[in-house]
Every structure is written in C-alpha cells, then in structure tokens.
Amino acid sequence: MHGEYKVPGGKLVVVDLEIKDGALSDVRVSGDFFLEPPEVLDAINDALTGLPADADDARIAAAVQACLPADAELFGFSPEAVAVTVRRALT
C-alpha cells in the first residue's frame, strides 16, 4: 500500500506499507524532505511498525514524535505529516 502527501510549503512524504494481522508492517517512509541525523529514518520506520491499522492521526504522530532523539531535526515535514501519509496509504 502506498501513500503520498506534499506538505503545503514543505516537502513530499511517501509511505509504503503492508498490513499483517491488523497491524502496520514493512513500513517504509521516504521523500524529498531533510532529516538529521539521517539514521532517524530507521527509527521512524520502526516506530510505525506494529501500530494498529485503525490508529488515528494523533496516535500515529505521537508514535513518530516519541521515537525522535533530542537532537533530531525535521525540515520540510513533521510527525503529523507522516501520520497523514500513513492514513493515505491505508485508504
């Protein structure tokens, strides 16, 4: 499943995922955003994996926010933008 969301005034966020037993699996976030340090992308993918497929935007965004190290910098997107993109992939 595949979702795309262009953040207004920001960058493109893309999510590819599968659903297994009602939960998100094989989650892959990509896009033309900027993220420091770059390894945080793996943490975001891991944080989304296992979330229930019916999780709402707030829960998805909270899961992304919670995995970010203190020095993480997101430029052109946000945990909320990832949540919107995940929802788009699911619908």
Binding site: E4, K6, L12, V14, S30, D32, E36, F75, G76
Partner: protein, 259 residues
C-alpha cells in the same frame, strides 16, 4: 554556544577541476566536508563538472519512486544517491551549474535550517541579480525567478561541518528529464503547475551567456565576501574519495538503501 564566524574570517579554497564520475562527486562532497569539519582544510567552494549524465537522488528518496530505470538505461544515465536530503535531479555534462560549499558549523551557528539555506546562497542570488535575473530564495530550498525555478539546494550536517550544495539548470533537456525521473502529481500539488517541464527555467535562456561566463561572475561575487584561492585536488583527498566511491557510493546497498 560558541560565536558565529563570518565569511571573511576564513581563507576559502576553490576546487574546480576536470569532469568526474557521479559516484566520485558524491564521495568528494563527503570527504571534503569531513576534512573541513576536522579542521584539516579551510571552507571550500567546489564547482562540479560531470563526466556523464546522472540522476542524483536525495538521501531519503525511494529509488523506484524517483527513477525510471528503462529511461535511465536508454539515455546512459548513471543513478546515484547523495548524502543530503531533498529531491532528485537530472544532469548532463555542461547543462547545470552545480557547486558545493563545505563550511564549518560555526559559520551558521545559531541559525535555523531555513536561515542557513538562505544565508549560504545569498551571494548566488546577488550574482544572479548582477547578471540581470530577478532571482530570489524560495523556501524551503529553491532558487526561483519570475519565469520559473532555477535551482535547488540541499544540506547535510556532518561532524562540525555543513555541506550545502546547489544545482542550477543551465540548459536542461526537459523532455529527457521526464523520461528519466518519475515526477508525480502530488509533488506538484502546491506548486501552481501540473507539469515538471514547466517548472525549470534554465540560466541560458535568461542570460544568453556561456556557462563558464556565469560561473566566473559567480566567483567574482563570492570574492566580494571573502578571499578564494583556486587549488588542485590533493592526491590524498582524491584517493579517500575514490575509496568511498568504490566501497559505498557505487554500491546497490547504498543507492537502493531506500528501495
């Protein structure tokens, strides 16, 4: 928090050598920026020359979402992934002006990412104005003009240093570009256009000047900010970059890291 430094606190070095392969350019950005971060070299402006057509995708982009492999193969285009985020670009030898600034973190100390993008390209906007182009910085990371996008910037932060690189279109083959890159409608949804071909307006049509004349004018503008000494690429730096090009930037593990 330490003090922010100024452009003319440094004796800058200029690297503008022979055409290099796409994977070597990726590696040179990493190696030179790390040398600046380690205090082994002063801040460096590097002008790129390409030995072959290339697609350079951003650090976080999906390879298969961005590149049409058949189109790339048909046109002999090498696909590489760079160390910075941002979007895919298509280059052919002589049809872009691409440059990298490798600077100490101190030069942008205390700035937001947005501020640092604008700050590090202010001299280019000035140079474009001097060439008669009404250009401006379009957040987040575009150089824009009245008749379209001219180029885009990307940054990567690496231990003590910032890599800021920019590609501006000099004379793009828009038809070939759309055969090589996949540019979806969602990406263009807030750009006020539905065609990627219409988004890029090259410097050649706006200035009527040769590419090397534009580069020379840019360097003149830069020298108004700080001293800039042309140097050859050292053998040691070249060898480090060749190693990284071979062991990292030309491998499928890196290029398809986001598949």
């Amino acid at each position: 928090m330490s003090e922010r430094t100024q452009w003319n606190d440094y004796q800058w070095e200029l690297l503008h050598g022979a055409p290099q392969s796409p994977e070597l350019h990726m590696a040179l950005d990493a190696v030179i920026t790390d040398e600046v971060g380690a205090g082994l070299r002063p801040p460096t402006l590097r002008i790129w020359e390409w030995s072959q057509p290339a697609v350079i995708i951003g650090r976080f982009q999906s390879l298969k979402n961005e590149v049409d492999p058949q189109g790339a193969a048909r046109h002999g285009v090498k696909v590489v992934r760079r160390v910075s985020g941002g979007g895919a670009m298509f280059v052919e030898p002589g049809n872009t002006i691409t440059y990298s600034l490798s600077v100490p973190q101190a030069l942008v100390q205390g700035m937001s990412f947005q501020q640092s993008y604008e700050y590090l390209d202010a001299w280019v906007i000035q140079a474009l104005h001097d060439l008669g182009i009404k250009a401006w910085y379009q957040p987040l990371n575009d150089i824009a003009s009245e008749s379209g996008k001219i180029g885009g910037a990307a940054q990567a932060r690496r231990a003590g240093a910032v890599l800021h690189h920019v590609t501006m279109s000099y004379d793009i083959d828009a038809e070939k570009m759309v055969q090589v890159l996949r540019i979806g409608r969602e990406k263009l949804s807030d750009k006020g256009t539905t065609s990627a071909k219409k988004r890029v307006d090259p410097l050649r049509s706006q200035t009527g000047l040769e590419r090397d004349v534009i580069i020379e004018r840019m360097l003149q503008t830069f020298r108004g900010l700080a001293s800039l000494t042309p140097i050859p690429l050292s053998q040691a730096t070249l060898e480090k970059a060749q190693t990284q090009a071979r062991d990292k930037f030309s491998t499928p593990e890196w290029t398809a890291q986001v598949p």
